[in-house]
């Protein structure tokens, strides 16, 4: 029996005569349509959730930028030396990708909002700032603090942005859960189509017997069922996807897209992703009905 995915195209092209050999049963048709629509609607939401939590994780991760600051609070005459010492120490610290002291101009720019643009840094006991960029696996903050304490007394490590790390992790988890839910929805859809297809095949044992009597091959018989269920799943999923996307469009959008609640939805080209849902539903139905048909036809042999 030849029911490869390549036949999906031939299936869509249609053979209305072959279609008619299986009687239309309104009830299973409507159930399959409804199930496909519901599953597609849910899939649109879980996809939106996955994509939104992915965006959130990326943004929070970017904001961390894996950067920390070291302040050198030391008397004016020791500041340069301690800065040098801290930079040397950082060079030999595992997990530090790069470190550099901010220039006077950069520090001035940072302080300008508070102290005005005409600030003479030399005249103020402003600490020198060192920007530390972490390597991907990060550094050991406690260890670094201890070493700084021992060698650069005026250095204070400020890694306050690190608190967001667990949030980023949570967002990643949420995204993974979203994808898992999407997968589960696809499997559930497959299970429901399988049940409906089995019911239809069992109800049509007599039709199958007649078709066999007149010399129909298993492929021909299976295709009549597969085609019907595939088109139904496609149609139902298209309806569900359209409704789901409409619901997404109707969600209020806050200007601050950083919040979990207001950030759910699709952005930019991501709007194309839910359009794959009906196609996926059709492929799932095609595979599920094909398997159900092969099994039933083997049993009825």
């Amino acid at each position: 029996m030849n029911l490869g995915l390549g036949n999906l195209g031939a299936l869509a092209a249609g053979d209305t005569q072959a279609d008619r050999v299986v009687p239309r049963t309104g009830f299973t048709a409507q159930l399959t349509l409804f199930a496909a629509a519901t599953m597609a609607f849910l899939a649109v939401f879980t996809l939106a959730l996955s994509l939104a939590s992915g965006r959130l994780a990326a943004r929070w991760g970017d904001e961390l930028a894996r950067s920390s600051t070291i302040r050198i609070v030391a008397p004016q005459d020791q500041r340069a030396a301690q800065t040098e010492a801290a930079l040397r120490l950082l060079e030999t610290t595992r997990g530090v990708q790069s470190a550099r002291a901010l220039t006077d101009a950069e520090q001035q720019a940072l302080l300008a909002p508070w102290l005005g643009p005409d600030l003479a840094l030399d005249a103020l006991p402003v600490p020198r700032l060192i920007e530390v960029i972490e390597a991907p696996d990060g550094f050991d903050a406690t260890g670094l603090r201890l070493r700084l304490q021992a060698e650069v007394p005026g250095a204070v490590l400020d890694d306050h942005t690190r608190w967001r790390a667990p949030l980023v992790q949570a967002a990643h988890r949420l995204r993974a859960l979203g994808w898992l839910s999407t997968l589960l929805i696809a499997l559930t859809m497959g299970a429901m189509v399988t049940l409906a297809a089995h019911a239809a095949l069992a109800a049509n044992a007599q039709v199958i017997a007649v078709l066999r009597l007149v010399g129909a091959t298993d492929t021909y018989i299976a295709r009549a069922f597969v085609r019907r269920f595939t088109l139904r799943a496609l149609g139902g999923a298209a309806i569900g996807t359209a409704l789901g996307m409409a619901a997404m469009l109707a969600l209020p959008r806050a200007s601050d897209a950083g919040s979990v609640l207001t950030g759910i939805g699709f952005q930019g080209w991501h709007w194309a992703i839910p359009l794959l849902v009906p196609l996926l539903a059709a492929i799932v139905a095609f595979a599920a009905t094909g398997a159900a048909a092969r099994r039933t036809l083997r049993e009825l042999a």
Binding site: V21, R24, V210, G215, A216, T217, D218
Partner: protein, 225 residues
């Protein structure tokens, strides 16, 4: 054409048919008879590959059915016209489409064969009933529709199971004449029937061999009919 060699069959209990050897030569006309429950339908099913023998060998057009895949059997069916005991239609399709079913099921263009279909409908006298649904047909109409469907692919062999069941005498004579006509066209014909009067009536039209199932075996019946 069809050859059974020391064939036995059992549905799971005791043997229903034992040690049966039958050969249907091309162009021959056979009756298969025996009391109800003797195994006529079973033997016919063995002849068209719907059942596999529990012992012995069945060859259809020279091929051993036991070595066949389901699709091979399907392709063989297209060369054999079968009239099932219960006719077996798709009740949701009109008679004409039921008769054309072997064409569509084998991927032929039913439109291209429309003229043949019309001729065939006229031959069995169902032109008027083309758009009726099978449940609306009378017993005789059903049998004629089943016969038309069996021969639409121009098969080499026609196997008919009780083709005159449920019809009156005149209709059974009409069906018999159709089957004799098919045989005159060169087709091998096998008719299973418990109706001995049908067999006697046929002797006028055709030289038929009569196989009788008795005590699980098949014998060639003589003049004692």
């Amino acid at each position: 054409m069809i050859e059974l060699e020391n064939v036995a069959y059992s549905y799971g209990g005791g043997e229903l048919l034992s040690d049966i050897s039958v050969k249907l030569a091309p162009g021959s006309f056979h009756f298969l008879t025996g009391p109800s429950g003797a195994g006529k339908t079973t033997l016919l099913k063995l002849c068209y590959g719907a059942l596999l023998p529990t012992a012995g060998v069945v060859r259809i057009f020279g091929a051993d059915v036991r070595a066949m895949q389901r699709d091979d059997v399907a392709h063989l069916r297209r060369r054999m016209g079968v009239v099932h005991q219960d006719c077996q239609f798709l009740n949701h399709l009109p008679v004409a489409e039921n008769i054309a079913l072997p064409l569509t099921a084998s991927g032929r263009d039913a439109k291209a064969a429309e003229a043949d279909l019309d001729d065939l409908m006229a031959w069995v006298g169902l032109t008027e009933r083309a758009q009726a649904l099978p449940p609306e047909l009378s017993g005789g109409e059903r049998q004629r529709a089943a016969l038309a469907r069996a021969v639409i692919m121009s098969p080499d062999v026609v196997l008919a199971d009780e083709p005159t069941g449920n019809v009156d005498w005149d209709m059974s004579q009409r069906l018999l004449r159709l089957l004799v006509e098919l045989n005159k066209m060169g087709k091998t014909v096998l008719i299973a029937t418990h109706d001995l009067s049908l067999i006697r009536a046929a002797k006028v039209h055709v030289q038929a061999r009569v196989l009788r199932i008795a005590n699980r075996r098949v014998q060639l019946a003589g003049a004692d009919l």
